[in-house]
Symmetry: C2
């Protein structure tokens, strides 16, 4: 008897290198070393106290049964109000679908809008999982090379050039992971127009949209009713382990996406939905905004220091909590460099190979999910090891 | 500007009729009618108090960050111990993958074991969503007609006859939804042997496996290490809204499935995992077993009464909380019959069309998720309306 064969997809699905780095970092920690974790994309801030309290209250009330597949009316209305306040966007609560994290939202968007065998354009570098979401749908991920001079974001021209007979959709991110760069409103409008002409679909991942430092652009939900917008409570609201996200879908998609959500996920978590209602209170918003300011200060520390360490930042990160640095000055590929840095300094970074199959060996991602003082210590350690050569 | 086109799958995905019935029943309730809900497959028991308390404690401790993609070590070990105690099965915790409900487990199993374009055999009648899980993978669901004389379960012969060049897997359920019938150990062994010979995959949905009344069979995890076993905290543990399930995968699948889980779901819910640890304490197990006895008593009430109401039960339900009844004696199709029963008596039942595209008009599913006294009242109301003819 042999174990049953894996699908072609499962045979080749790649692990995150960041998880290998994390495992090695944790092993080093167990042996007593002090590790500074700048590898994992999880905010260091705890879930806001008001959200925790609301979750505990929901549990005390026994609020543990299925909600509607597309989420509670109360949470969809709260998100609609938040789009109005934060982005000046009118988003009908009926167009909002609550999901088990942005992951489930992307799976739903692809099930709803892409057929097996079709192609989906994905910026390279980009979030590694996106390739796997597309493959899980039986569709084909196609890399769309993005350049530093365009803030590592696609242009309408690059999308037009890459669009083939079998292309169905493009999945964008702003601010993007791993670069932290944003897509400008003008560029987005040109891209949407280009895709519309081809009868295609724009999916916009905005899970970092509330973490923008300089000149925030409104959500794509403002003004582009045919764009599928993905978001999450994980990052800005610091609710990673709650597994709660949402999507805004075009009017004509509302009923089919609800049916898909019923079938594929039954419903998102009940307690998480009840707890998330507390995330929009003014005190919590003030707390979250102070965290955004803290992230901005950390970014500025990195932007100041990294060039002197031979880690070039080619496009200014405007949001999220990542810096994408060119490490070629060090003369080794990013996996070797990250391994060496971890071994010699206890600073854990992610090699770019998680994010770019083509150029990942030249780049390193730094997640600034540690306090400013720890970040400064990490930079000092890097200075020491690089000074030794 | 037109809204972007839906995928072929999204164009045709069907709603649950049970949701229409539920919506109508709720509208009737709002207008003041007393409705007896026997339509939705959600246990009426609340989440056990010890689980609620453990969830609240986890929140108080700020236990809200990502866990490993395949779940916490503690919960996987607790499940392994439960397989030993409940089923006499040795299941290595490393082979257990915690998921966001059985839904995510089935999505993962299909991503891991089935290629787009391949066929998956599904018993008819069966759980409606299974067709949609298969279609979401870009694969083709193929109905496998099951007969009352075989307890509405497939036989090895029926699977051998249905197996084609492009068939990759069969998805079984025991106890099954909507019939409540079990697959005997001998029959399972013959099916596994048949599928092994063809190099195929058996996926066994056991989300009701702990709710069996007469002669419980052990889990397929006992003795069939190449079968993918799906389970959930939703039903026996009454944790529907927590969205927590798990799967047992073949040894050779462990690493690829963890990688898939990382990519497609990041991780299952953190608080739900912490809370579920309390589900295995002896007091909670005693409470849950008393609930199984209560379900058994309700089933017996139905089995006694339904034949006199012209609702024939052709195969004895041995578990779950469903009875699948042949309603042809009433001379109307099940959708019309359920609509009439709801309108005239306030008893909400599910037409069989949710579960069988071929024979659903002849059957009605009754979910006995109400107290015995409410169930008796529902039967009296049915008696009254049927007596009027």
């Amino acid at each position: 008897m042999r174990d049953p064969a894996l699908s072609g997809f499962a045979e080749v699905v790649e692990p995150f290198r960041v998880m290998d780095i994390l495992a090695r970092a944790q092993a080093a920690e167990r042996s007593g070393r002090d590790i500074i974790h700048l590898e994992v994309g999880e905010p260091d801030f705890p879930t806001p106290p008001a959200v925790i309290a609301a979750g505990r209250a929901a549990l005390a009330e026994g609020d543990t049964r299925y909600t509607p597949a597309h989420g509670t009316q109360a949470l969809r209305e709260a998100l609609s109000a938040d789009y109005r306040r934060r982005h000046g966007a009118e988003v009908d609560p009926e167009r909002i679908v609550i999901t088990a994290g942005a992951s489930a939202a992307i799976l739903l968007a692809l099930a709803a809008g892409v057929n097996p065998g079709e192609e989906v354009l994905l910026p390279d570098p980009g979030y590694a999982c996106n390739r796997q979401f597309v493959a899980a749908r039986g569709a084909t991920p196609v890399g769309l090379s993005v350049q530093a001079e365009h803030a590592f974001q696609p242009t309408a021209e690059s999308i037009a050039a890459a669009w083939g007979a079998n292309t169905r959709a493009v999945l964008l991110g702003s601010p993007a992971n791993p670069t932290g760069t944003c897509l400008s409103r003008d560029r987005l409008a040109a891209i949407v127009e280009t895709v519309r002409k081809r009868g295609g679909l724009v999916i916009m991942d905005e899970i970092y949209a509330q973490i923008v430092f300089d000149t925030p652009e409104p959500s794509a939900a403002a003004g582009f009713p045919d764009v599928v917008v993905i978001n999450s409570f994980s990052k800005y609201f610091a609710m990673t382990g709650w597994r709660l996200g949402w999507m805004v879908v075009p009017e004509a998609w509302v009923d089919p996406v609800r049916r898909l959500a019923q079938n594929l996920f039954v419903a998102p978590g009940t307690v998480a939905q009840a707890a998330a209602l507390a995330a929009f209170a003014p005190e919590t918003e003030a707390l979250l905004q102070s965290q955004v300011q803290e992230l901005k200060a950390r970014r500025d520390v990195l932007l100041d220091a990294l060039p002197r360490l031979g880690l070039e930042v080619q496009a200014r990160p405007e949001g999220a909590f990542y810096v994408w640095t060119d490490c070629r000055a060090h003369g080794v590929d990013s996996e070797a460099l990250c391994a060496r840095i971890l071994d010699e300094t206890g600073v854990a970074l992610t090699p770019g190979t998680d994010f770019s199959p083509t150029r990942g060996r030249d780049y390193v991602r730094i997640a600034y999910t540690q306090s400013e003082s720890r970040l400064r210590e990490a930079l000092e350690r890097l200075q020491t090891v690089f000074a030794r050569g």
